[in-house]
Symmetry: C2
Subunit: 267 residues, 2 copies
């Protein structure tokens, strides 16, 4: 494993930027959205009918629809006016999901809009805000996310996340793993690929970044990896298991990913 | 003058974002750059020859070259790979300026690069960092600047300026007053023009924003207005003279623009 810190043998004396995935790596979408789906159902006039829905399964399907949608739109780079954002992908998916889960007659279109809007106020992982503040002391910090920039602004204000540069998929006109998404972000940050690391809880994101010459930081997050059996810590420049208590003064809830990253980078 | 705060007669109940000009409005480029030019000259091997240069005049000419360059490139919107950024405009201008000021044989190309790099570490006006932190409590804050985003990241880290969204001219592919620069920024922020105000020390910037339906905040800054005789406070939604001491606990140096703006917006 190559060290990201400066050592006599380091190959990255100019390493200076960290680029973060949002959904899953920085934001704990699963907890926020499951809570939102369940509480909306529990207080609904048709609560009895909604009680029969497996909301964990419903949410996983919603997430899969996001992945399929962003994958589809990652094939091309389009101008802003043609860009299909995540709110649209999420909202369209609901029209199918309510049929699949047999609740098509329950939620009104306005209520489905409201459910979709919850993706703008996700909770961060408990270490994220403090970890980013630490990392900000030494590194330029940017997002590189499937979310569009307005959503990232809302999420970051909600969860108190400080970035030097917010890059939404709408700004690059495409989605990861399209190379334009990565390369435009690095260009806008003013760094070369080898001067930046991709921080993600998904191996495919790190692998796409590595293929362009970026360094990689893998941060394990509960349930985020689609193919955990394919992961070996050694394939990333840094591997953060994120479940070690390193600072009792910070509420960790057993999640310390970005704080541990700051420690590993000697911030 | 229309009030920007919520009143029974307000036409802007959803006003929610402030978009800031950088050079001159947020950053005090004149002070930083004059200091850099003079100190570089004073310590140079050819200090005697450089001493004859009127650096105030030199700097004003440099600034005019920036204005002419950005005006030229504002006529079209181009892809990122074709974008001509401010570092390039500033550097090219020096090749002419050293001839005009009869010092073409003094500075090496590397030294001219170094002089240009000073535009990345400008001081902010003394009220800017604290004022933005106050305004951030209530409003989404973005840049909309002739600077490219990497330069804005450097300047903002140097001067401790916290934004929700940094938009450089390279991201929009053009320069103000091209309407794409304003409209893309608002789109990325997730707001309509009437939900945002342009904050600038230059009437032409405010006027371009107003023509697109944005609200306007004019912040007076020393020497920034090209045509001060053409300005009337009443043409802007808010006019901040910025020279009133409103808080003795904050070092104002008689400049209080963004802090006064926060007061006027009841933050």
């Amino acid at each position: 494993m190559i060290s990201l810190t400066h050592t006599p043998h380091s190959h990255s004396p100019n390493f200076q930027a960290l680029v973060f995935d949002a959904f899953g790596t920085t934001l704990n979408w699963r907890h926020t959205m499951l809570t939102a789906l369940e509480s909306r159902a529990a207080t609904h006039a048709h609560a009895a009918q909604l009680q029969r829905v497996n909301w964990r399964s419903f949410l996983q399907d919603w997430r899969e629809a996001y992945k399929a949608g962003t994958r589809e739109y990652s094939r091309v780079v389009v101008p802003l006016e043609d860009f299909v954002d995540v709110d649209t992908i999420h909202r369209r998916a609901l029209d199918d999901l309510v049929v699949k889960y047999d609740i098509a007659d329950v939620y009104s279109p306005v209520e489905l809009d409201e459910l979709t809007a919850n993706w703008h106020s996700l909770s961060a992982w408990p270490d994220a805000s403090h970890g980013l503040d630490l990392l900000h002391r030494k590194y330029k910090l940017a997002t590189l996310s499937g979310a569009h920039s307005a959503q990232l602004v809302d999420m970051s204000r909600h969860a108190d996340l400080r970035w030097d540069l917010v890059v939404g998929a709408d700004m690059t006109g495409t989605y990861k793993p399209n190379r334009t998404a990565y390369l435009n972000t690095l260009n806008w940050l003013g760094v070369q690929p080898h001067e930046a690391a991709m921080v993600a809880a998904h191996a495919n994101d790190c692998r796409a970044a590595r293929s362009l010459g970026m360094r990689t930081v893998y941060v394990e997050r509960t349930l985020e990896e689609d193919e955990p059996e394919s992961i070996t810590a050694g394939e990333f420049d840094l591997f953060i298991d994120g479940k070690t208590d390193i600072d009792n003064t910070v509420p960790t809830h057993r999640q310390t990913g970005f704080i541990e990253l700051a420690e590993r980078l000697s911030v």
